[in-house]
């Protein structure tokens, strides 16, 4: 059986079921009892304030606390409200926790999850709009994933909580109320498994979250003219290279859409990997649609520089030439 659930409600179900399933799971963040976003709504009533922990505005403390508790056998989920706030605890979130397992002789697991609302579109300017997946993907030892549908959200959050390594799993605020099918029974979407969200023959478009929605709109619009395959990586680290190469064997053209900066972003990494591992499959150079390397402006300027359906369509047309 399945039901229609909003995206944010699917995340809430994952958190709730994992808290029931494993009493080592707890949530920590700011204002999560009152629920700034609905994914933590009511959880304090069910699980109490020891498992739904509101902290002072102490991001480093909050994250560092989670890492210490993880080493003591707990499985914390750290909620940062907005993705940008993870930058406040940069060394803890990237260097110390991400490198702990390897540099300390593969002896201790670090099962913790970072989540936060992310994404452009609200015209709030950089602090509240910037992406974090590419930055975390740059640092070894951290898994990074981002769901695009309610089904993926529930399954991927469950996989993240059950994982024995740090997992960064932001969710895009533009998807919050999107509805989709979610099964009744327990399931996970394994980290590292991509998904073809639409089959096509002429060009592969890699896109995720809000940009996946845009890519699907464009694919629909071009139907009958250009056959677009829409590839949702779902997880950036580990990345499902096999599925992407299979797709490219069919389409031989690639556009990578990433709601992140052009420089040093995930799209750049992926483009380089395709050159290294799939060059012979390609009939055209890889194209990227990203934010230009400027602080994300607010106001009316945001849509002028943001990846959007027009830019995606233009890239598809260019790569087909």
């Amino acid at each position: 059986m399945t039901r229609q659930l909003p995206f944010i409600e699917a995340i809430r179900e994952a958190l709730r079921e994992e808290m029931i399933h494993d009493d080592k799971v707890f949530l920590v963040g700011q204002d999560i009892r009152g629920a700034i976003y609905p994914h933590t709504k009511g959880l304090v009533d069910e699980f109490g304030p020891d498992r739904v922990v509101d902290t002072p505005i102490s991001e480093s403390g909050m994250y560092g606390m989670a890492s210490g508790a993880a080493l003591q056998g707990y499985r914390p989920v750290v909620d940062f409200m907005f993705g940008g706030f993870t930058y406040v605890t940069f060394s803890e979130a990237t260097v110390t926790t991400g490198q702990q397992y390897f540099l300390h002789g593969s002896k201790s697991n670090m099962p913790l999850v970072i989540t936060a609302g992310v994404g452009a579109g609200m015209r709030l300017a950089n602090d509240h709009s910037m992406a974090i997946h590419g930055t975390f993907a740059h640092h070894p030892g951290i898994k990074v994933a981002m769901p695009s549908t309610p089904y993926d959200a529930k399954g991927m959050f469950k996989a993240a909580i059950r994982d024995n390594s740090p997992v960064v799993i932001p969710w895009h605020m533009a998807l919050m109320m999107d509805k989709g099918e979610v099964p009744d029974e327990d399931y996970v979407v394994p980290l590292g498994k991509a998904d073809i969200k639409r089959e096509g023959a002429d060009v592969t478009v890699v896109a995720n979250s809000q940009q996946l929605k845009f890519a699907l709109q464009v694919a629909e619009k071009l139907d009958g003219e250009i056959s677009v395959e829409v590839f949702d990586p779902r997880s950036f680290v580990p990345f499902d290279m096999d599925l992407l190469l299979t797709s490219l064997a069919k389409t031989s053209r690639l556009v990578i859409v990433d709601e992140d900066w052009e420089s040093g972003g995930f799209a750049a990494t992926l483009s380089a990997r395709v050159m290294e591992q799939g060059f012979d499959l390609l009939d055209a150079p890889v194209l990227r649609v990203t934010f230009p390397n400027m602080p994300i402006p607010g106001g009316v300027l945001e849509p002028r520089v943001m990846p959007n359906p027009e830019r995606i369509e233009a890239a598809i047309r260019a790569v087909m030439e």
Binding site: G34, A35, P56, F85
Partner: protein, 349 residues
């Protein structure tokens, strides 16, 4: 929450901090201006005519006026984010127009329409406003250090809320400021709340200013609803810092009469804030209190107060008219890219 927060230690040494009649008139006028500004921002946001979000200042505008009205122009001001800092800024002489234009995304905005709520008034020594709570502590140490090096007697007014003292950088900044005896006022506007979190739960001591004790930093606690008391405390701290005696901590006990930001439910923890509590707190609304004082002290008649109100309203309305008449910026990506880095001298050639 207690509607009348206990004020244990009021601003003292009235001698050199005492306010003249003109000072008090100016404070009252600024309070009315900030109040009018805040009301129109609230209305605009409610009717969808403001970009981004708005964190209403109702009940909490007196500390900003007290902190900034008597700063010198070359003192550095770092406003608290509530009401997006404009109570503080207008008290330091900042014109409302470019801020209103910014908050509506216009080309005439103080940040060229790039920033929604971020104010940028370096010409008034207001810098780097950010949406990250606690962003201003460490830069304040730098403003203070530069002030010390330049020896011109500048001070730094570093304003923020109770919640911001959860950030480690607050403590790093207090440590460094006290070690180096920097001219910084740690100005804490304690409204008892940070979104849904009560200060009484998030801080172990009832007064945030207790933190100053650990650094040997002098502190004052004032009634943040009383704009005159705030200003006296600010003056004392400013004098202390200007004389080279180092930082001072001032805690203003204030209130929040609206939700944290418009649209966010007004909760404590996960339960709605009691309407009666808010009504009780509203009795200590700062404009109301100040009005009682100025009337009782014979500073203004009721007619004069009405005139001041009308003038404040006219100022704010004129600023909105100006902002509304501004065009949206025309910049596209290529033009914007030329503003990511500051040019060097050789770039001009």
């Amino acid at each position: 929450m207690d509607a009348n927060p206990p004020v244990r230690e009021l601003a003292m040494s009235i001698s050199n901090t005492a306010l003249t009649i003109e000072d008090r008139k100016l404070l009252f006028t600024n309070l009315l201006r900030a109040d009018e500004y805040d009301r129109t921002m609230y209305k605009r946001m409610m009717s969808g005519k403001l970009l981004g979000f708005y964190h209403p200042g109702e009940g909490a505008i007196a500390p900003g006026i007290g902190a900034a009205t008597f700063l010198n122009q070359d003192d550095v001001l770092s406003p608290h984010h509530r009401a997006h800092g404009m109570a503080h800024a207008l008290a330091k002489g900042v014109d409302l127009k470019p801020y209103l234009a910014e908050h509506t995304g216009k080309a005439g905005g103080c940040s060229e329409g790039r920033s929604s709520f971020h104010m940028s008034f370096p010409e008034h020594k207001i810098y780097m406003f950010s949406g990250f709570i606690g962003f201003n502590f460490a830069p304040a140490v730098g403003y203070g250090y530069a002030a010390k090096l330049s020896g011109k007697g500048q001070v730094v007014m570093m304003c923020s809320g109770d919640g911001s003292y959860g950030q480690g950088r607050a403590h790093e900044a207090m440590l460094m400021a006290q070690n180096m005896k920097l001219p910084i006022i740690f100005w804490c506007e304690n409204n008892g709340l940070a979104i849904h979190a009560e200060a009484s739960e998030m801080h172990p001591m009832p007064d945030i200013s207790s933190l100053a004790d650990g650094y040997g930093m002098p502190k004052r606690i004032v009634d943040g609803q009383d704009v005159f008391a705030c200003a006296e405390a600010a003056r004392e701290a400013i004098d202390h810092a200007r004389e080279g005696k180092g930082p001072m901590f001032v805690e203003c006990k204030t209130l929040r009469l609206k939700e944290h930001d418009i649209g966010t439910p007004d909760l404590i923890g996960s339960t709605p804030r009691s309407k009666e509590d808010i009504l009780k707190q509203a009795e200590r609304e700062p404009v109301k209190l100040a009005m009682q004082k100025v009337l009782a002290d014979g500073l203004f008649t009721m007619d004069e107060i009405d005139d001041l109100r009308t003038a404040a309203r006219a100022e704010v309305e004129a600023a909105w008219d100006w902002a509304d008449a501004q065009p949206f910026p025309e910049d596209g990506e290529a033009e914007l890219m030329t503003h990511v880095f500051a040019p060097n001298a050789e770039d001009a050639a």
